[in-house]
């Protein structure tokens, strides 16, 4: 009559639950998704060196890259608090106040994002979705 009204272990073992099965190959590509966080953080820079290998031109190119990078980072500072107009894919144009960028320049944090669907108080824009942006100094 009584089965197990007790903390005793029942005779059968219960299989461990799984959330889902491991994902397999998608059959169409060799993988290495370029949109994965690891790929975006670790993959080689999009513009590879044009230097032909000799030390002097490599050094000059490096100096050029350093100067450009510094200019860009300073431009990000200049953007804070200003209204930026973003041109995105699929003919989308939005504007917002720029708050911050993440360290890998993968996402922009913005506020009062004006979209055709309404205004988003706070939003995160994926940089890979942005074609260009402009702002007034």
């Amino acid at each position: 009559m009584c089965c197990c009204l007790c903390p005793q272990e029942p005779a059968m073992k219960v299989p461990v639950s799984v959330i889902r099965l491991p994902r397999g190959p998608d059959g169409t590509s060799r993988g290495f998704d370029p949109n994965s966080p690891r790929y975006q953080a670790l993959s080689p820079v999009s513009i590879s060196t044009a230097g032909c290998g000799n030390e002097a031109s490599l050094e000059r190119e490096q100096q050029g890259r350093v100067a450009l990078r510094e200019r860009y980072l300073r431009s990000l500072f200049a953007m804070v608090g200003r209204t930026i107009h973003f041109t995105m894919y699929e003919r989308v144009n939005v504007s917002a106040f720029f708050d911050a960028s993440d360290i890998d320049i993968l996402n922009f944090q913005v506020s009062d994002l004006q979209t055709p669907l309404g205004v988003h108080r706070e939003a995160l824009l994926r940089c890979s979705d942005i074609i260009s942006y402009t702002f007034e100094l």
Binding site: V14, I19, G24, P25, G31, D33, R38
Partner: protein, 346 residues
Amino acid sequence: MAMRQTPLTCSGHTRPVVDLAFSDITPYGYFLISACKDGKPMLRQGDTGDWIGTFLGHKGAVWGATLNRDATKAATAAADFTAKVWDAVSGDELITLAHKHIVKSVNFTEDSNYLLTGGQDKLLRIYDLSKPEAEPQVVSGHTSGIKKALWSSDDKQILSADDKTLRLWDRNTMTEVKAINVAMSVSSMEYVPEGEILVVTYGRTIAFHSAETLEQIKSFEAPATVNSASLHPEKEFIVAGGEDFKLYKYDYNTGEELESYKGHFGPIHCVRFSPDGELYASGSEDGTLRLWQTTVGKTYGLWKCVVPGKNFVYIFGKTLLHHNLSKSYTTNSQLKVRPARVTSFL
């Protein structure tokens, strides 16, 4: 509540999986590479088994595969007489290293700057990956095909195994330091830096040797021929698998067999513990990789812990009682207990 192990099967390979290796733990988790006779080694996320990509380029069975510590580079050894180095982030082939015979084993140094290869031509080769066009340093001495070659002692020494011997070499002088004979053909070798332990399998034996002196520390016998064994990072357990298609888990200190699992449909060729010791992976003749929990029932990766007492009901005659006796339900007939996965609350 007794839990039954649920292995996670990773499919995708079409031929036997003959080697597998984990990376260290990286900021993006840890990774697993599998070598397969179909010539297409695959990279997977280590804790879930999710496929990340396939390295395409080899023209023959891939016998050995490895990752560098942070899983940014992969290396493979194949029957097409080449070893290849790959970018493990983009999947691109970086370097092809031509050999004179089937290559069986590849291993990176800790800094990923040098690659050690070994194969059927009985020679150990050390390639400087910053100068891949340069000739490798060659170490000869083996009298039969090399099955596995590994860096040891902070990359200052090399351990290698062929059919009959285990050898220790000094990297600087490129000379043999020690050699011992093994009773039967070595099927696998794993080097554990913490403690300088070498795990070797041959016949039904799982043996542990000092990586510095090659002397045997201890050994266990398995019920069937063992093809591969791996030591847990905390040195509590050993897992092994072989010709009887089963996986065995032993207590490393006592040698007691703790658990065994059926599941594969063919002989197991390789087993390895993950770097955090929470799971182990097995590769088999059946073309699959399976992931097994070290602690069955623990929430980790894709496994979800079902807390005993929270989800179960007790049966008393015709009455179902909620676990904390807060509710009860009566039925008209005797309740039957069916083995089932209980995943919902009442």
